[in-house]
Symmetry: C2
Subunit: 408 residues, 2 copies
């Protein structure tokens, strides 16, 4: 079978997929490549176009959307789906915002939409959630879903860099954008958690509703505290089910050395899934980059070619509806340069002084933390979650050991 393939975008990911298809199966190369910037130098042996209609009005079978602009991406993908095409996208921002509408188009017009590369790039996590966990009941999903943040945290722990130095190194090594904001403030992770939660739990929770705290305020003193406890800090995205519903949150979190997430370093991503049938499954792989992300696009293409589409098994045939996440209660370590900065956020918790900073441990609901985000941001507070295998008492004792004056 031969498919006519149209490609939007020829940047990091587009070139990765192209390279793989060229070396491995030229039949999976695009006939048309639509890009935007007429002034860019291009490889003249390839067929570039600047007119989206060259793909949208063409009888292509499969459309691949790998552009950097989410609004334009939504236009392309929805118009391909309206023609009943098979569509592949890597655009997490666009997908997390529009999946409900896109799934309706898929159903109405008989096309299909695959997007493995949109979450944890090189790890086949969406396909696995969709197919391998069919017939299963997932209670918890935890992931390290942003390569830049994980690279930065790794440098803090391995090389004793400051956050600023680590961000700079990430940029120099191609693991963070010129503007690293979306990576380090966790926004990229929340897009991915929205997508994964749909497949893992059949719930659509818009990324704006998820408690999201990135690595931007992780402090050298947090690193020192974690190290003194034999722990690391990782930016962990969690989706966990309890009787009331689904709890979602993303924040820097203490991780112990018996947890497979402990060994996930540098630009690597990971996902840990707890389910009734399978116990604990763990996946680790590259979370960004030209070839890893291109490989997921290529794998989607081989699936699209076979007519494979996602089952959305957990939706169970129901229409996607938007849900609000439940408010879980979290134990967090909050620290700042001054006690005054802490007061608006910690409630009645006591404040401890150690390592030149002021610390409090507080049990607080995600809903409450979301309300306090402006104060957290304004005061550059560092928030690090304990996970449930690490006790507050141990952490507190260690803070106190590091030289303490209980000042509250």
């Amino acid at each position: 079978m031969t498919n006519r393939i149209g490609l939007f975008g020829f940047g990091v990911v587009g070139q990765g997929y192209y390279e793989i298809a060229k070396n491995h199966r030229p039949a999976l190369l695009p006939e048309t490549i639509v890009v935007q910037n007429k002034n860019k130098k291009r490889d003249h042996s390839l067929q570039f176009s600047f007119d989206p209609k060259d793909i949208l009005d063409d009888p292509c079978d499969i459309g691949i959307e790998l552009i950097s602009d989410p609004a334009q991406a939504y236009d392309y993908v929805s118009s391909l789906l309206k023609s009943g095409k098979k569509v592949i996208s890597a655009n997490k921002k666009m997908l997390s915002a529009h999946l409900p509408a896109l799934l309706e188009l898929e159903k109405t017009y008989g096309g299909s939409l695959l997007y493995e590369a949109s979450a944890a790039a090189g790890i086949p996590i969406i396909t696995c959630l969709d197919c391998h966990f069919a017939g299963d009941d997932i209670s918890k999903l935890q992931g390290i879903l942003n390569g830049s943040s994980n690279y930065i945290l790794t440098r803090l722990f391995q090389d004793d860099l400051s956050l600023q130095e680590a961000v700079k190194l990430a940029q120099e090594n191609g693991f963070a954008e010129a503007d690293p904001t979306l990576d380090i403030n966790g926004s990229d992770v929340s897009s991915k958690l929205t997508i994964l939660s749909l497949h893992a739990f059949g719930r659509y929770i818009p990324e704006g509703e998820i408690l999201t705290i990135g690595v931007q305020h992780v402090h050298a003193a947090d690193v020192a505290l974690a190290k003194s406890l034999g722990l690391k800090i990782k930016l962990i995205a969690t989706a966990q089910k309890d009787k009331e519903g689904l709890n979602l949150h993303i924040l820097p979190t203490l991780v112990g050395d018996n947890d497979p997430l402990f060994l996930v370093e540098n630009e690597y991503n990971a996902a840990k899934i707890t389910s009734q049938n399978l116990g604990e499954q763990f996946f680790q792989g590259k979370g960004a980059g030209s070839l890893p992300t291109g490989a997921s696009v290529y794998a989607d293409l081989t699936k699209a070619e076979k007519g494979y589409g996602y089952s959305y098994d957990k939706l169970n045939g129901k229409k996607i509806t938007t849900e609000l996440p439940q408010a879980a209660s979290l134990e967090v370590i909050i620290s700042a340069d001054s006690p005054d900065a802490l007061h608006p956020v910690i409630g009645s918790a006591s404040i401890h002084q150690a390592n030149g900073r002021y610390w409090a441990i507080s049990t607080v609901s995600t809903a409450e933390l979301i309300k306090r985000l402006p104060a957290i941001e304004a005061n550059k507070l560092s928030i690090v979650a304990l996970n449930n295998t690490i006790s507050e008492d141990n952490v507190l004792a260690q803070i106190q050991r590091q030289e303490t004056v209980n000042i509250s």
Copy 2:
């Protein structure tokens, strides 16, 4: 779409799949279940038959083979394929012996054969190798592929048990058979490595050709040595490509704490894959048991339903041919109760005495080790491989530190 499903075998795995389908999608329950023993007590609400023809001569669409007898399994699976049926099997012994013939039948008669549960039970490793690593070039695959052996090694390290005690505990907890031979001598692992190598490298290497040393002679003194170096011993299956060809071997191996395999404990399995596009991917999950294995069968069923078949991407359309593995050279620690037991196996390596045992470190080819297997078995020698991140010098210094008289 409704499929008529026939099931052979209703043991540990068959019941696991049945349970999942019943709770999740009764349309995926079998119409007919063929078992063997007429005297067994059965649940009378189910439709059992003792005549294979009830499935083989029936217009079923999908046949699932989950029996314990490899010879009979081959008969059932090949006759289903000859009728062009979609077939699912978990029978690693049968598959590793007959995959070339079965693939011919698949091609000739237009049926399909899926077997996710046959290697690393609950981990979707075969599907991932087949689809997600399409267009990729895998250089190395390493795995912990036998839950019983891993459970036993975990007990040796965590609870200081002897091998005999650990085997007994594994049996009591349902992680080893009444006759644990195939588990602890590594034979189960070699079946799986044959299957995985076909998907990862497009090479068919019969299990009888693979250097296979199980955990049966791992000694408390090996455990003490590894612990004193901050290492663990895991039963590692390796398939690694070099210029000459593919090197395969299975043996107890030292693993360091920066390797994700280090944290794989108890009945869990894992696979680590190094490839050109994806760097290092790591998968961890349950390697045996009713629900984990049943879940893989159920996932295969949802794939078969959609008409999904393996691509055997790495075969590249070529016919499977049998290959011999290449002889890699390995660094191994060999130990025994007496120096005489070591002499026939270690060549000119020097012998050290420590911890009440006699030790030698030797660099030897897998081909040579295969020749020495009868002597190894007769003398109950313990063989533990160094992996390439652990240096011979460190190990030797540690052996000598544990009290040494160099007696050769």
